[in-house]
Symmetry: C2
Subunit: 389 residues, 2 copies
Amino acid sequence: MTISKGPQAFPRSEYLRRLAAVKSEMARRGVETLVVSFDRNMNYLAGYTARTAYVPQGLVVSMRQDEPTIILRLMDTYAAHYQTFLVREHVIGYPEALIGNAERDGYDAIIDFLQETGAASAGLGLELANLPPSAVDKFKARLPNINIADFSNVVTWIRTEKSDLEIAYMKEAAAITDAGIRRAAEVIRPGVWEADAAAEIVAALMRGTNGKHGTSVANFWMNTSPRIGASHFTWSEDVFREGSQINLEIAGVRHNYTVPISRTFSIGKPSERLRRVHEAQVNALDAALSVVSPGRTCHEVAEVIYGTLAKHGVEKESRCGYAIGIDWLESTASIRTGDMTQLKPNMTFHLHLGNWLDEDFGVMVSESIRVTESGVEVLTGTPRQLFEL
Amino acid sequence: MTISKGPQAFPRSEYLRRLAAVKSEMARRGVETLVVSFDRNMNYLAGYTARTAYVPQGLVVSMRQDEPTIILRLMDTYAAHYQTFLVREHVIGYPEALIGNAERDGYDAIIDFLQETGAASAGLGLELANLPPSAVDKFKARLPNINIADFSNVVTWIRTEKSDLEIAYMKEAAAITDAGIRRAAEVIRPGVWEADAAAEIVAALMRGTNGKHGTSVANFWMNTSPRIGASHFTWSEDVFREGSQINLEIAGVRHNYTVPISRTFSIGKPSERLRRVHEAQVNALDAALSVVSPGRTCHEVAEVIYGTLAKHGVEKESRCGYAIGIDWLESTASIRTGDMTQLKPNMTFHLHLGNWLDEDFGVMVSESIRVTESGVEVLTGTPRQLFEL
């Protein structure tokens, strides 16, 4: 039997709006057909979220057609029928014989499709940064007379300005993020295994809140003394101890829209150094929030943060945030010196005050924000504080 | 302050043994220096598990030196000091200015290192399949007189034969996998939200068992009616219902060693079709286990499975399994027709009987196995059955 369409995360009109923005870029760059291979961009343009990017796949956007065509491993086409807005004829499966096959793979199926439909005779866009070099070679060898334009990050840039529908999911995700921090404050205690506390926090993020479940498990960073100078560890095989510091960075997720937060926890009285750096960070975050508004640049926001930290005698080398949306990070605008991206309404960022000041010392506090028509909205409701447990 | 070394997953001798195998391949291929950029291979050769592969990074293996050199974003070097066996001088950080920089990035830092140490004058190995095309172009442009050899998948192939130390972690992971299935059988009930059950199962996998915690969260696949013809969904925003079928594929993890299992659950009496296909699959799995032994080929095992299924009138298009180890799948040997890889002791596989027979019908049962000196060992202890709840 054929599978029916399941509940859709967004109405068809939302996808068509996004596709119109992409097609406008295609027209500008003289591209008639675009192969989107970055899974987050496929998610954005078609609603496909199954985790199948470990095999070749692509979404073919044509100037000649309203709806794109998704090309997947055959066994994954059922997921696409169920969850994307695409009509059945626009979901194409390639056979299992192309899996683990050194000669012909899923990229050949995509190229076959381009050849059969004559789709790319007037310019082909590829997300080169998301293709293995061997695939790029195949496109060039098998489509020798076609002009290839690099579309790396073009769709990702279109994603930066969210629709109100996307913002609604991000607010639901933010409420889940808050629930995760609340749970963390309950379960982080001396003598508790880090893994057990992490399990409770992740479970809270999955269960969700307000009748809205978490829809996937995001990254989970938990760096406990003596690993608080590092930033990308998860839990260790140890227990929490009296006097330990915990740097926690978690995120709630709704339909892949991910809203991160960082908070620092201290079991017992925090050290003077921790208090001082944390206060500097909160002040810098407050100062940043007071300047975020449409027309300002990422650079200006970063300068306010670096300036405020400097007044407190705190240095920071790393950037102060990045665009967020589908699957945490968007590789587009950064809150950093020299990034002249202008803020626009419904851009969303993780403003991240992470200071890893020593190999064995670091402090974190952050907010996920939305740029509004006139200023800024913090998406989460968690207090901007150092948690003393 | 500098951070001390933390607990090591493996002794130095284990890493040197793995590196010796890699160097033997380098010698065979006339390569003096190898840049390992695939994060799972960096994990294998140095013990680095922090999740930082979203920025450029590499492990430089030189024929001239016992220990490799790891090159990371500066903020991630603390993690490397803490958790790898490398001496401090072999952990190199590149500055934050190379993050989100279109001109110069972390690959330039790696190339700088190669130039400064004159490391690659006699042949450079690159894992081309794991590098973006722009990085490959950089290596070629900045090292124009150097012979580049493609090392894609070479280290991954070396990983296929596990040491006894690796097998010990896989057995710990397998016990956690079993705990996950036990929890699933307790919490999957009509009226329970899929997300809530998934949270309980993931929490069980994180807490671990026998005093050994799960060390990270693996993929979690849960396909419930009517999505049981698909294979790569997670939980949905629905409740389980009387008569629902649940295809669950989960894995326990110890130090990134991942041991997956698939089981099918039926709430209430299973349909005749489900029973029949499941029985065929169990018979095929039993038949496969009876032939796995050193010297046999993946092809032979697959043929036994396809043959047994055919006797039951069940067709299967997809492969019947794949090599496993660090982070679930190793892209090397597959249990498929035509894969003439010879089985050797301590190779490990996920023998996966997944039959997605219709868009709305599929059944799963699997075992993670180790090839022994004389036959096979199933790593998990979960009964090979259809779970009726």
